[in-house]
């Protein structure tokens, strides 16, 4: 790509406000999680206009891992992991077969499947809450793990299908035949040639799918009460030491904890995530 170097200076300067705009709320989240309850409303205990605590404390983290808020947070964290991993696994496996068919085989209805996936992804999920709440209440699926995994498939499948199809379109499938011509068995050819080529796309799709499930609040708050509650829903029900005290520190400590894995994944796989996010939407 040809870049005219003229003017890059101005663009780099413009990058500074963008970085600040992104970073300030993240730092604020961290800062609040390190403030003690007494320092929250006490401006003198913080620097930079109430922004950063003068003496950071980890008491909020103790609160959510072993203290009063742990009874709410730890099960929610476990539920979140189980529900999101299950939904991701089912979505990715189903979408893998589907995307393979779409990108490699000629069959009628290919376009219909892609358009259906798109229509489902535009579907307002809140509109599913009322019927699901009613059906789940009758069938005993309310407040259970499967009761969340099922609607999460509606959130995750369309994107999995689109993203994985886009990745699979770019695989040189002929290499499998070439390997077979060279004397490899069909299993060897698949195992040695196709799997390494397809793995990055499958993996990236799994990450994006996991993000979507991890982020859900609508189903989590509507279809659970306490047994199957996930982190986003649990955060909305955190209570402070007394009824009149908002548990700001505990909420932000929990927020930092659930944000860390996401940030690590982004740091490690940003290039792929970007490719995955844009390939499904933009012709590429």
């Amino acid at each position: 790509m040809k870049q005219s170097t003229k003017g890059t200076g101005i663009w780099s300067v413009l990058a500074i406000p963008i970085m600040l705009w992104t970073a300030v709320p993240l730092l604020w989240m961290l800062s609040l999680s390190l403030k003690s309850a007494d320092d929250l409303a006490n401006k003198d205990a913080s620097i930079l206009g109430n922004f950063w605590p003068k003496d950071p404390t980890i008491e909020n983290y103790q609160l959510i891992f072993s203290g009063g808020a742990s009874e709410l947070f730890m099960p929610a964290l476990r539920n979140s992991l189980i529900v999101c991993l299950l939904a991701t696994l089912i979505s990715v496996v189903l979408a893998m077969f589907c995307a393979y068919a779409i990108s490699r085989l000629e069959f009628k209805g290919k376009k219909m499947i892609l358009v259906t996936a798109l229509a489902v992804s535009f579907f307002p999920v809140v509109a599913m809450v009322t019927p699901l709440f009613e059906i789940w209440s009758k069938t005993g699926l309310f407040d259970t793990i499967p009761g969340l995994v099922i609607p999460y498939l509606a959130l995750t499948l369309p994107l999995s299908i689109w993203t994985m199809s886009a990745f699979f379109q770019q695989i040189p499938w002929e290499m499998e035949q070439a390997a077979q011509v060279d004397g490899a068995s069909s299993w060897q050819a698949f195992h040695k040639v196709i799997v390494p080529l397809a793995a990055p796309g499958v993996f990236t799709t799994a990450i994006i799918t996991f993000f979507i499930a991890w982020n859900d609040f609508v189903f989590a708050i509507s279809l659970t009460s306490d047994q199957a509650r996930t982190v986003p829903a649990a955060l909305a029900f955190f209570t402070g030491a007394s009824q009149f005290e908002q548990p700001t520190g505990a909420i932000m400590a929990a927020s930092v904890i659930v944000t860390i894995p996401v940030v690590i994944l982004v740091l490690l796989f940003q290039r792929r995530i970007v490719a995955g996010l844009t390939s499904g939407a933009v012709k590429g």
Binding site: P25, A101, G109, A127, V129, Q177, F217, P232, V266
Partner: protein, 313 residues
Amino acid sequence: MSASTPTRERAKGGKTRLSDRSRSEQHLGWKLAMPAFVVMVLVTGYPILQAVWNSFFAYRLTDPENRRFVGLNNYLVSFTDQVFWSAMWMTILVTVITVIVELVLGFIIALVMHRIVIPRKTLRTLVLIPYSIITVVSGFTWLFAFQTGTGFVNQWIQWMPGIDANYNWFGGFWSSLFVISLSEIWKTTPFMSLLLLAGLAQVDSSMEEAAKVDGASWWQVLIKVILPSMKAAVMVALLFRTLDAFRIFDNIFIMTGGANDTSSLSMLIYRQTIDRTEIGLGSALSVILFLCVLIIAAVFVKAFKVDLAEGRG
């Protein structure tokens, strides 16, 4: 023409006759694609049909004995309710504000990412993080930032008229709307900029150069060359975000809980269904929301000629 060539690279007009091979391919294709397709249609199709059916009944979950057919009454009740129209107004306002701001901001960020060479990777990482953060977490972070007494925003902008350390951002409709939109924008602008960045990458740079040689200013190049060739990418990004913003729920629930008329349509559905167990009314609202989304999508596809399946299968 072996079956293994990717469809995109298939030669034009290279339709093979329906041999045994292609017939078995048809079967295999359907077999592989079927499970995902069926699950998708069942998981979304069944609830929406159930919602349509239930919307014709007066039906409270706590009182199933009194379930009775009332025709279109639930819709009438909704349309004559002041609360419904205020939620509709809020939903449309949030959608229009966030989508427009995100488009402008996203485009600026995309241009910066497109142009800078040195810290591009850092910038991309930073921009991706808000998008990957749980919406509820973003909502809480901004809520606490604007909170009276404990937040930092009032401390930072006390030089502005009417703002002091005790200014209550959640005391009225417009200031609440501002903070809700801000959280929404902070989280989703990255998605917009990534889509637009992908669109920018497809702009023919030789046309840019030619325009520059002809003495066009940077601004003219942007308007005359870059934007027209990005129309498709912009439209797709707009459609995705408009439909997404129209479903706004998480930020409102966390920040205001719907106080000061800040409830959206989604919030209304939640209140009717979960708080009041009014399955009939909740279902009618769900159908209305579903139709709104359908209309928006149809307008985009018909009026703006957004071709979503272009370049595929």
